[in-house]
Symmetry: C2
Amino acid sequence: MTSEFDLIARHFTRPTPSADLGIGDDAALLRVAPGHQLVVSCDMLVAGTHFLADAAPEALGWKTIAVSVSDLAAMSAQPRWATLALSLPAADEAWIAALASGVHACCAVFGIDLVGGDTTRGPLNLCATLFGEVPLGRATTRDGARPGDDLWVSGQPGRAALGLAHLLEGRSLAADHSGDCLEALHRPQPRLGLGLALRGVASAMLDVSDGITGDLRHILERSSVGAELDEGLLPLDGLVAACGDPSRALAAFLGGGDDYELLFTASPDERRQIAEIATRCGVPVHRLGRVTARAGRLQLRRQGDHVEALDANGYDHFRTVDSRSA
Amino acid sequence: MTSEFDLIARHFTRPTPSADLGIGDDAALLRVAPGHQLVVSCDMLVAGTHFLADAAPEALGWKTIAVSVSDLAAMSAQPRWATLALSLPAADEAWIAALASGVHACCAVFGIDLVGGDTTRGPLNLCATLFGEVPLGRATTRDGARPGDDLWVSGQPGRAALGLAHLLEGRSLAADHSGDCLEALHRPQPRLGLGLALRGVASAMLDVSDGITGDLRHILERSSVGAELDEGLLPLDGLVAACGDPSRALAAFLGGGDDYELLFTASPDERRQIAEIATRCGVPVHRLGRVTARAGRLQLRRQGDHVEALDANGYDHFRTVDSRSA
């Protein structure tokens, strides 16, 4: 007899050529390449906290894997395998099939075999664990930033926050920008190629899931440094064009979460190489400011050249999306 | 500023001497021993499906890790590391501290470093992923059972089901047995020593989470064999003593979930060695019957020597604990 449970599992079962043993036993068997470290990251996505309850299932499946790919990209690690645990309120097969197609689409793009998981009944919850490889000692961590380093970010942080405010609060967006902002929110593009190419170039790196100021705090803490952002360098034009309000654009850039861009530091000697890497990867990068010596101090140099302290608190998951503001 | 989020993370952060990099970066960095495969298992526990909403948090923390240790034991693999993702409805620090103490207690007993995870707000959900090691090609899988092999189980399956029925339906248990049954339900003891010792001895193995007949079905499918249980061999005396009803005892033994005992097959030539291993590990084992040639057929030979077909369906997680019966 085929149970609902079996039906669900079937949607998530695909061949796993890079695993010695995939789905179907008590555990998966994997072989890490000699001379490499195993890199593991785990993210849990909950309805109402990380996504809206009516999120489209295909995009949700994509995002469930993509946010962990972004973590591995930030370590300069190559993703290889994933497990996915699901709690679902009901066995709605069309919804589950769409979710699975998004999961498989993201796995296919980034070369990941889905090797195991768990499916159970309960409030909607998605927990992906991703396994990657990095040559021994070559991971880019958060603790290597040095005073004098440049501070960089990829892409256009802030779009996801504008998209969320548009959905939740009806805050208007220019018609030719709303699609981009919603795409950034619903279907983030992890910067894997960039993260791999920055191995040995970036001195510290992480992915921006909770907003630039909030996540930058982790680099400051782990590296025992400070940072100064220069407002004149920040890529705000696209956000201003989208929302029509410079201060709202700045807030979205500094405090908005969910963009999954890479925030990294590097010696000024690397500027030309970073520009070349960005061109090769097809991902714009923006220099935001510099790393300073005073541990934990995060500042913004405004256009008029006065300097403001920045609150380094990020998005706290104990607030829900419903209480978030852009 | 310390957020609720930081407070929670603090409870789950301990030194991770066996990891190259533990909690605090985008991902953990681990080194798998040369000549070994990585073994990965993932379990999601949801309130109302896997445990009662008022479960004691310390026992719940223990069980969250223990059920995945049991999966690795069934592969004859040594657990090394774990990640834990949590969704919590509120930041109740005393409750979280007790949960964390149960998690750490189980990790300490089985030599596991907690290397990462995620903490978020949402309906109570616990997702543990365990990572272990096994010498290349030496894992015990589900596909090695051969006709003529003996069928074995460790310990006393059925106690957790009697304990659950006692809690949910008020079904009486003998006073001197109820503690054992509730302990089996709330604080399962994964049979790691036994699982490791059976490497190369058992021809197939899994852990019994969903009931013997349900889980045995997985061995029958993967090994393309059948099985016949012999009622006269089944360890029912302890269950009869606990519940006072032979047919209820048999149902709990065959269909009850949540015991996390090891179900395995082995050549009859191994009987003496298995008895020695069981004695050495301090875990009783019981021979239940034998593996047969007819793929998928599962039978019970009753005391009067007539043979009955057994329904091979296990516990389906799309039924909740509230609808389970022993």
